[in-house]
Every structure is written in structure tokens, then in C-alpha cells.
């Protein structure tokens, strides 16, 4: 017996290692399988809607593939549309970790854009990196102040952050219009009031080998950095504790106020940065076109990603692809633009509903395997 045991030393170890790996995979799989299943269910529900309209779901999804993901052109199209969504989604996902539902990222985006355009024009003549850096910082400061104020109102004055951020977004857009039509207006922009155009030398160009601008890389880096911040640092841990139970966090001595204001300000700063890229890489000046709805689309991205900064990356790509394909679907199937909104709405609802499924499947919970 002794010999056998000795020669089999690794054998008893192997199953636990395998079991641990299985348990690890199972725990991680839950967060992937459930949202994917929800997406499939949402698409199935949407197919029923299409059938009721007398349209072919097969053609719809074929066009969606072709227009959003099926070729290098389509992939770039999807990536370009996903770019502003990454930073906009972080403006929702970061405060969400503190239990806050901030939906006014649009305001931070437009003010960030205006600040970037103003600084970019004022600093014309300085070296490229200086101007770009100044534009980025100005945009982040503008957006950070805006959403930071939402956090401060929440913590110190108990103002509901969902309502206040939304209202602040309307104020931001009005402020942008006032600035763009008033003090910052380029007198040459007659029928479309805009700021002075950014000198061509200070534009942000496409990344090598593709026609997607650098905002994509910055967005992805920001998503990863936010994941590290939340999952790997003590501030992130503190934020999660505060998000779970504010009272408990306070009893533990966590500075909940600065945490809330800081996370909100960071969230707003990232959205402001999205505005800076819209100005420096796309529009060339700040004007009413900045309010393109990215802030609102970002809410959808963050919720579909279940407020995970890493999850925002694939979800933004998916929604970018759906948006890219939307045009082709309009053109080929004669469906109105609202069709894509219906699809997005269905996906949104199904994914939100799927939240109740977490913890209900034994297969994802290794602790319950033994009792089978």
C-alpha cells in the first residue's frame, strides 16, 4: 500500500487542482454566459417583432453581420462608433460602483468638447504635445467639475444623483450653446454657430493602418485602468464597500464623501475626454453637433456590461457594430431607424432582467456542487 501511495503522490493532488480550475472557470463563466444568453434571448424576442412586421429575421441578422462585423471596413466602422461610447460608459460604470446611477455624461462630453476647442484655439502656435495635453486636461477638468458637482450634491446635500446629473446635462448643453453662439463664436460660422476651428496641425489623426482615431486606444486603456482602479486598489475596494453599504463604510472609517466626489469627478473627466476627442479628431470645432447622444448611449453600454469597465469594451464594440449596421438595414430592408432602437431597448430590458438569474444556477456555484 505504501508503495502505491508513494508512486501516486501527484494523483490525489491532480483532482483538487482540476476541481479548483473548474470552480474558478464556473465562477467566472456566470458573468459571461448569463449576459450572452440574455443577448440571444433579446435577439429572439426581436425576431418575433420582425416576424410580426413581416420582415425576415434571417436577413436582418445577416445584414447586421455584414454592416457591423463582416469585413475590415465594417469592423472599423463599428470601432469608430464604439470609440466615444467607451469613455461615456465609464462615466456611468465608475459611479455605479459606489451605488450611484449617473446618467448625465452627455453634459460632461459637450463641456469637455467646448473646453478643448477653446484651449486648442487659444494655444495655437505652441508645440503639438503641449496643445493636445492642454486640451485633454481642460476637457477633463470641465467634465470632472460637472459630474464631481453631481457627486457633491449627492453626498453633502442628498440630491438624487440620477435626476441632478440629467438636469445638469441639459444645463451643460444650454451653456455650450450660449458659449458657442456668444463669446466663443467664430464670426465666420454664420448659419451654424461654432467655435474657431482647431488648426489642422493640432488635429488627432487615425491610428496606423486604420481610419479609427486614437480615441479608441485611449478609451481601451481607460477601461483597463478603471478595472485596475476598482478591482486592484484600496480606493476601488473602499468604493465597493461604500457602494455596498454606506453606513458600514462610514463605521469602518472610510472617507465616503471624498470617495463619491472623487469617483464622480473621475467619471466626468473621462467623459470630458471623449468630448475632447470629438473636437480634436472628428469635428474640428465645438458646436451643437457635440450633443450627439453619446452620453446616453454610454448608459446602455455600462448597464449591458453590468458596470464592469472591462465589460464595456466588448459591449461598446457590439453596440458600435449594431449602429454601423443600422444604416445598411435601413437601406436594404426599408425599415425605419427606430428599428435599431427597438432592438437596443429589447436587449437592454432582457439584460436588466437577467440580473435576477445570478446565483440561481448551480452549475456556476462550486460550493453547491457537493450537495448534488
Amino acid at each position: 500500500m505504501a508503495d502505491v501511495t508513494a508512486s501516486d503522490v501527484p494523483a490525489p493532488l491532480a483532482p483538487p487542482r482540476l476541481a479548483a480550475a473548474l470552480a474558478f472557470t464556473a465562477r467566472r463563466a456566470e458573468g459571461i454566459v448569463i449576459p450572452l444568453g440574455a443577448l440571444v434571448a433579446g435577439m429572439a424576442a426581436f425576431s418575433v417583432f420582425l416576424l410580426l412586421l413581416g420582415k425576415s429575421p434571417a436577413q436582418f441578422f445577416e445584414l447586421m453581420w455584414r454592416g457591423g462585423f463582416g469585413s475590415w471596413f465594417s469592423i472599423q466602422n463599428a470601432l469608430l462608433r464604439a470609440t466615444p461610447l467607451l469613455l461615456a460608459a465609464l462615466c456611468v460604470a465608475l459611479p455605479a460602483r459606489l451605488g450611484l446611477t449617473v446618467i448625465g455624461g452627455e453634459g460632461a462630453i459637450v463641456l469637455g468638447g467646448v473646453a478643448a476647442a477653446a484651449f486648442g484655439h487659444a494655444l495655437s502656435g505652441l508645440p503639438y504635445p503641449v496643445v493636445i495635453l492642454a486640451m485633454g486636461l481642460a476637457a477633463m477638468a470641465a467634465g470632472g467639475l460637472w459630474i464631481g458637482a453631481v457627486g457633491a450634491l449627492r453626498h453633502y446635500r442628498a440630491v438624487n444623483e440620477t435626476i441632478s446629473s440629467l438636469l445638469m446635462a441639459y444645463i451643460a448643453i444650454a451653456l455650450m450653446n450660449q458659449l458657442v453662439e456668444g463669446p466663443l463664436r467664430d464670426p465666420a460660422s454664420l448659419n451654424k454657430p461654432s467655435t474657431h476651428p482647431l488648426d489642422a496641425a493640432y488635429r488627432i489623426g487615425p491610428m496606423p493602418g486604420m481610419d479609427v482615431h486614437w480615441g479608441l486606444a485611449v478609451g481601451i486603456v481607460a477601461c483597463v485602468a478603471c478595472w485596475v482602479l476598482i478591482d486592484k486598489t484600496r480606493w476601488g475596494f473602499a468604493a465597493r464597500v461604500a457602494g455596498g453599504n454606506v453606513r458600514a463604510a462610514q463605521i469602518q472609517g472610510l472617507a465616503v464623501g471624498p470617495l463619491i466626489v472623487g469617483f464622480c469627478a473621475l467619471a466626468g473627466a473621462l467623459a470630458g475626454l471623449a468630448g475632447m476627442f470629438e473636437v480634436a479628431a472628428v469635428q474640428g470645432s465645438a458646436n451643437a453637433s457635440l450633443a450627439a447622444g453619446y452620453g446616453y448611449a454610454g448608459i446602455l453600454v455600462a448597464f449591458l456590461a453590468r458596470q464592469s469597465p472591462l465589460g464595456c469594451i466588448p459591449v461598446a464594440f457590439l453596440l458600435g457594430g449594431i449602429a454601423a449596421a443600422g444604416g445598411l438595414i435601413q437601406r436594404r430592408m426599408g425599415l425605419p431607424d427606430a428599428t435599431i432602437l427597438v432592438l437596443q431597448g429589447m436587449l437592454f430590458i432582457v439584460v436588466l432582467m437577467s440580473d435576477t438569474l445570478y446565483g440561481r444556477f448551480k452549475i456556476f456555484n462550486p460550493d453547491r456542487w457537493a450537495r448534488a
Binding site: G67, A292, R331, D337
Partner: protein, 374 residues
């Protein structure tokens, strides 16, 4: 699917290849032969059925759908961002469009200009009159209409219909195009009765239904009994005004179905004229004009049929004025005329017809308009 066998682009490519082998291909590369068919793309910033700006363009596009050899592809609700650049690219790459009409004002710079550079073989024509031959590429161009004349005729009819001698205007933004419309509307009404005043309210946005409704209600509350507007979709203004018992004059497209009793007339775009002209040139393989403008006489702008609220006297003056405008050279802004701050804008004897370049930078509201540009 419906790829034209000898589309302009393919032809250019083939002839370029031909040129590489010998000079034989060269003459053809400069002037494409008659194209059997063509795909034309239309892009709208709002919904195609907004009873306004976008519907006016979509009605023009619809006429092309009936032309043989023309395939129309359309996309609505496209924001003035990278979205519209990608939409143009997608129409060109996936649908083989050789002529694209991005119809919203904000599509021009930088979006359409970027695509003009990227696709030198594709033609782009933009609504709004921004193209300039020294500044912009040769495959781009502009078309626009003198619609302020239509607002002047709206004013003539409104002048006959108003009892309170107060008329109202719901405007989006204080930009030259809008200000010309406001001024024309009041001056039309004053051609009937010089005591008429017009209150203007700016909503600040091209499409903001709540503020448009509030503005309309405020105008009616202040006694205005004929309302018109310049916003992207006049639906809310027309319905709100009619519900409050005021008469309405339309804009962009006909809103008569929304308020058949209260709708007097309206200044409508007639883009079919422009689009048909471009499509015919394209099918014939002829170069497309870069810059096109026209008014009521050219069929770029038309008036909605007069509604039941128009009096006989109103109809008579409307028809006489319309005939006069169609003769050409008719000036709405003519001296002596002051703005509403008392500053002279035209001395006696000075006149600005619809084609006057000065009107493209109008920054004033004429005397009798209550409201401010800032």
C-alpha cells in the same frame, strides 16, 4: 446586387487601366459615357416623416425612385458626427452610390469634405449653399433655395387673416437664414397693414418639441393669432397653434393634414426639381453643376395650396404678389427700412432682392419684430 455594369467609378478604373496599356483609354477616362443606371444616396438628420425639413428632402428623393435607372438608398436620423461620414462611406462601399446628398447643414464641414477627399470619383451635393470653388473640392457642391420669399407670401396671407394685428414666429436659432424668414414674414404682413407686429421666440434648438410647444402657447397667450415657424419639424407648432384656435402658416413641407381648417398656406421646399436635374445629368454622364440656387420662379420653392381660412382679398393679394415675385428681382428688404433697434438698414431707394449676397449674413430683425437676436 443592383451593381451597374458600367458605373462611373468602375468605368474610371477600367479606363485608367486601359490608359496604362496605351493611350486608347485616355479620352474616355475624362468624360464617362452614358451610365445605364446609378445609385444615389440620401442622408437625413431626422426622421423622414417629420412634416418638416427631412420630409421635404425625402419627398424629393421619392420622385427619383420613379426614374428608370435610378436606385435610391436612404438613411434617416444620422447625427452630424463620424456617423454621417461612415454612412456616406457605407453607401459608397456597400451600395455603390456614385452621388450622395447629405442634406443636413452640419454635414458639410468637416464630414462631407472628408469624404470628398477620400472618394474623388464620387459626387457629393450638399443642401445649404456653402460650397466655394476656391475653397472646396470639385466633386462637392451645394444647392439651396430662396425660401424667405415663401415666408413673405405666408406673411401676406397672415396679414389678411389676423384680427389682433399680432402674429407670431417660433424660431430655432438667430442665424441669417432664420432671421431672413422672420423679417420676410413680418414685411409680408405689413404689406397688408403696416400696424402689424410680429413676436419671435427662439427655442435655441433645431428640434426641441417641448420648447416649441411652450413658445407657441406663449405667443398665443400674448395675442398672436397667426403663427409660423422655422424649426426642423413644424408639427408641434402647427398642432399646438391650431388647438389654441390660431391660424398657422407652414414651413419646409406641407403641414395642411395636421390642421386642415387652420392651415392658411406654407413655404415649402420643392427639392424634386433639384434632385431630378442632378439625376438626369448623372444618367447622361454629364458633369453635375457644383452650385445651384433658385426660388419660387425656378421651382426650388413652392407654396402650399391656400386653405379655407384665406379670405378672397387675401387670395387676391397672394396671387398677385406671387406673380410679381416670379417675374424676378422682387425685393422684400428695401429702403427706407430700420431694424427693431432703430438703426437704418436700408436707405430710401436701396433694395436687396432674394439673390443679394448681403442677405446671407443678416444679423438684424426689422422694425416691428418683437424679439432679440442675442
Amino acid at each position: 446586387m443592383s451593381h451597374s455594369l458600367i458605373s462611373r467609378r468602375t468605368l474610371l478604373k477600367t479606363s485608367a487601366a486601359g490608359a496604362a496599356f496605351g493611350a486608347a483609354g485616355l479620352p474616355f477616362s475624362l468624360r464617362p459615357a452614358r451610365a445605364a443606371s446609378a445609385t444615389i444616396g440620401f442622408i437625413y438628420v431626422g426622421p423622414k416623416d417629420d412634416y418638416g425639413y427631412n420630409q421635404a428632402h425625402a419627398e424629393g428623393a421619392k420622385v427619383l425612385k420613379g426614374m428608370s435607372g435610378v436606385t435610391v438608398v436612404e438613411e434617416e436620423n444620422v447625427p452630424e458626427s463620424v456617423d454621417v461620414q461612415k454612412t456616406m462611406e457605407s453607401m459608397i462601399n456597400l451600395d455603390d452610390a456614385t452621388l450622395v446628398f447629405p442634406t443636413s447643414f452640419g454635414y458639410f464641414d468637416p464630414h462631407m469634405l472628408a469624404m470628398c477627399k477620400k472618394f474623388p470619383d464620387v459626387q457629393f451635393r450638399h443642401c445649404g449653399g456653402l460650397w466655394h470653388k476656391d475653397k472646396h473640392p470639385a466633386n462637392a457642391g451645394s444647392y439651396f433655395g430662396y425660401i424667405a420669399m415663401g415666408q413673405y407670401l405666408n406673411g401676406v396671407v397672415a396679414g389678411h387673416a389676423t384680427k389682433s394685428k399680432k402674429i407670431g414666429f417660433v424660431a430655432a436659432k438667430p442665424i441669417p437664414q432664420v432671421l431672413n424668414n422672420v423679417n420676410s414674414f413680418l414685411l409680408g404682413a405689413r404689406s397688408v397693414d403696416p400696424s402689424i407686429t410680429c413676436q419671435v421666440i427662439f427655442t435655441g434648438e433645431w428640434s426641441l418639441a417641448v420648447k416649441e410647444a411652450e413658445a407657441t402657447n406663449a405667443l398665443v397667450d400674448q395675442g398672436a393669432d397667426v403663427i409660423t415657424c422655422h424649426v426642423d419639424g413644424p408639427k408641434v407648432v402647427v398642432q399646438t397653434a391650431a388647438n389654441r384656435g390660431a391660424f398657422v402658416c407652414g414651413y419646409h413641407a406641407s403641414q395642411a393634414p395636421l390642421a386642415p381648417e387652420k392651415y392658411l398656406t406654407g413655404a415649402e421646399w420643392n427639392w424634386a426639381t433639384v434632385y431630378e436635374m442632378y439625376a438626369k445629368h448623372l444618367l447622361a454622364g454629364e458633369p453635375l453643376p457644383n452650385f445651384t440656387r433658385g426660388g419660387l420662379a425656378d421651382g426650388f420653392v413652392k407654396m402650399s395650396p391656400l386653405g379655407p381660412g384665406v379670405s378672397d382679398a387675401g387670395r387676391k393679394q397672394f396671387e398677385a404678389t406671387l406673380a410679381e415675385i416670379k417675374k424676378g428681382g422682387y425685393a422684400v428688404i428695401k429702403g427706407p427700412l430700420k431694424d427693431n433697434k432703430g438703426k437704418e438698414i436700408a436707405a430710401a431707394g436701396k433694395a436687396f432682392p432674394e439673390t443679394a449676397i448681403e442677405l446671407e449674413s443678416t444679423g438684424f430683425l426689422v422694425e416691428g419684430v418683437q424679439g432679440s437676436t442675442s
